[in-house]
């Protein structure tokens, strides 16, 4: 639907976390559909896809932190922002454990500061990136949207709180808030090779056996980044057409229940290297074992379904890394 309608044409859109994986795909998509995009950028990120592909220079950007109230208000007012995609967050679980305060400041306080600035400046709609991590550990899987938000670790709880505060702003202040709970995103541009998919693809391209630190039986819900982009756009468009939807959260996942070993097998098959079986180190098993979502609500209420899914998403991702690593490694 997004390709053909004019919803985004000349729309003023603020994207926080614009240089992250999702932002790097979302911002160019918005620009291609005619939106006037402004990015909130905290730190310089020379390796970001947005920089490499030259987009950062073509889009307006303001520099600073989510917790800078004056900056948020100024940005929203000066650019007459209509839609905010709030993707900015401290997303590394290990950093959150080492420094819970800065994670809570960015993820939780940053969210209430942004929502408050949006309320005060009359922004029409705010799409908030929550996460399946906001649900916390549960025996009651798959997660549905009405599952309580009971994260138990600093990163999780920073997301649980941000999600609850977003729901509250919609209900108490009639702000048009849409809450997106995606699983783990993957796609070209993610240079954090400690993550499973980038790590496995790089190892395989190098002809190495990928090392899995856990027992390989953990289950996570994954979503290809271009499918996530469409999920955000789709929810924003529906929210504008049906403001009664404000404050609702939507799961967007594939719900495939693949173990990490299954996923690595898929990657090896796609890359034509089934011989490179992973090495299971079995030394890091203290994370939540299983997390996956039921995305029925998004299918039924928004008509969303993933365009690429797992296999095509992986093929595109592999192609991106193949190209990227060839370029970077041959230039060295």
């Amino acid at each position: 639907m997004s390709e053909t309608n004019s919803f985004w044409k000349d729309r003023s859109v603020l994207v926080t976390g614009g240089t992250g994986l999702l932002g790097s795909w979302l911002a160019p998509t918005l620009a291609k559909r005619g939106a006037n995009v402004v990015l909130l950028v905290r730190d310089g990120a020379p390796r970001s896809l947005l920089v490499r592909d030259g987009w950062l220079n073509q889009l307006a950007s303001v520099h600073g932190s989510l917790t800078d109230e004056g900056l948020l208000r100024r940005t929203m007012a000066e650019y007459s922002v209509q839609t905010v995609f709030h993707l900015g967050a401290q997303t590394l679980v290990g950093v959150a454990k080492a420094d819970p305060v800065s994670t809570l400041e960015t993820n939780t306080k940053g969210t209430w500061m942004l929502l408050e600035a949006a309320r005060q400046t009359g922004v029409q709609q705010v799409l908030v990136a929550s996460s399946d991590k906001a649900y916390g550990e549960s025996a009651n899987l798959p997660y549905r949207e009405d599952h309580p938000l009971i994260g138990q670790f600093p990163y999780e709880v920073s997301k649980s709180c941000a999600d609850l505060i977003s729901q509250m702003y919609a209900r108490a202040y009639k702000l048009q808030v849409g809450i997106v709970r995606c699983g783990n995103l993957f796609g070209g541009g993610d240079l954090n090779y400690s993550r499973l998919i980038p790590g496995a693809i790089r190892a395989t391209l190098h002809g190495e056996n990928f090392k899995i630190r856990s027992d390989g039986k953990f289950i996570r819900d994954f979503l290809y980044v271009e499918d996530a982009v469409e999920a955000y756009l789709c929810l924003a468009e529906h929210l504008a057409a049906n403001p009664a939807m404000a404050g609702e959260a939507f799961n967007f996942g594939l719900g495939l229940k693949l173990t990490m070993l299954d996923l690595v097998d898929k990657i090896l098959a796609i890359m034509g290297r089934p011989d490179l079986q992973p090495i299971v180190e079995n030394i890091a098993n203290n994370e939540i074992r299983e997390q996956y979502m039921d995305s029925t609500k998004a299918h039924e209420r928004l008509g969303w379904s993933p365009l690429y899914g797992m296999d095509e998403g992986l093929r595109r991702t592999v192609a991106w890394y193949r190209n990227h690593l060839q370029n970077t490694e041959s230039s060295n």
């Binding site: 809570l104 939780t108 549905r144 009405d146 309580p148 994260g151 509250m168 209900r171 108490a172």
Partner: protein, 351 residues
């Protein structure tokens, strides 16, 4: 309950840091800790004359620090200066109307203040922290069965105050879980007693009008039912919780509810005040405001009894008699009615 000799010896010489010390519970709790021999540092944010007076009767028996727990540097200074055994975190923005008009301040105080405090406690090796929560949070606990909406939880989500307290509990639990901190979460509903000078609240307001010989006016029919706990019973809950948490793992990060365990309608509550003030002639005037009145369930205090051996020691009649006596003292003699023991009484107006 009377904390008894074990509480006295447990708290003796313990370094205790109390936030929100000038609130209703704080005033009574600090007095009680001092009586039990604890060495109390009280954090006081605003220097309002009333709150100052409420601590003044303790004179130099406590140490006060001026400032806010939202100030990480201040926490660093206080907790770094001396080893603290227990933090009792009562400080919060608790006024629902303020939360609606100023959600950011409410989140700063209730959510960010809590993570600042717990992070400082973690880094300085504080033995245990007790935090004051609210029964409102219970509504968001329950795991919704598949296919059912969590209706109570949904209703909470329109209230910034309730959400700020939910966040506070979630954050506190994450600290306890991740860093193996000893954390007590005490959930209370309505607490009343001498020292609550928010006369917009029902009990102080009704006592004041009764002592002035005026009819108390309800905007509503006064039919909704609530659970009211007397403040000294809340104090005994904190003392008991701290005493047991010091060595028990089962209480750690497990929210426990405290209340009287029975309900009274607001109209009958005011009649109770009239009875104990000997002004049964001042029958309250009820209104017909159609604002929906929300009745509360009686608090389930099963866990508090079973896990802590705690029970309220004051019936509503007894608590109200004490409360009325405190306010009589406050209005008629001009002195606050905290247990004074050895400390000299400070006059209400020192000028």
């Amino acid at each position: 309950m009377n904390p008894g000799p074990s509480a006295a010896s447990f708290w003796s010489k313990k370094q205790v840091f109390v936030t929100g010390a000038t609130g209703l519970v704080g005033g009574w709790l600090v007095s009680s800790l001092v009586e039990h021999g604890a060495s109390v540092t009280a954090l006081v944010r605003d220097g309002s004359p009333r709150s100052h007076l409420r601590l003044a009767h303790l004179g130099d028996r406590i140490r006060t620090v001026g400032g806010s727990f939202c100030d990480a540097h201040l926490l660093e200074r206080v907790l770094g200066a001396q080893p603290t055994h227990t933090i009792i975190h009562l400080g919060a923005q608790t006024v629902v109307g303020v939360a609606n008009s100023d959600p950011v301040t409410t989140f700063e105080v209730n959510a960010r203040g809590t993570w600042n405090l717990l992070d400082a406690a973690r880094r300085h090796g504080v033995h245990q922290t007790l935090i004051a929560s609210t029964l409102l949070v219970s509504a968001t606990d329950s795991q919704a069965a598949p296919g059912q909406r969590n209706v109570l939880g949904e209703a909470m989500l329109q209230h910034p105050y309730a959400v700020s307290k939910v966040c506070m509990e979630r954050i506190a639990s994450a600290f306890a879980h991740t860093y193996l901190m000893r954390l007590g979460i005490l959930r209370f509903g309505n607490i009343y007693g001498g020292g609550d000078l928010h006369f917009s609240r029902l009990i102080p307001g009704a006592i004041r009008s009764t002592l002035r010989g005026e009819h108390f006016r309800f905007r509503t029919p006064g039919a909704s039912e609530r659970d009211f706990l007397y403040v000294e019973d809340a104090v005994s809950a904190y003392l008991r919780f701290g005493e047991l948490l010091a060595t028990s793992d089962t209480l750690c990060a497990r929210p426990v509810a405290f209340g009287l365990g029975s309900r009274v309608s607001l109209l009958n509550l005011v009649r109770l005040i009239l009875k104990h003030a000997d002004r049964a002639d001042l029958e309250p005037i009820t209104g017909t405001s159609s604002t929906p009145e929300i009745s509360e369930e009686a608090t389930d205090i099963h866990d508090a009894c079973k896990l802590l051996g705690w029970r309220p020691q004051h019936t509503l009649d007894e608590g109200m008699q004490r409360t009325i006596a405190w306010f009589r003292n406050y209005f008629e003699i001009g002195q606050n009615g905290y247990p004074l023991r050895n400390a000299p009484v400070q006059p209400l107006d020192r000028n």
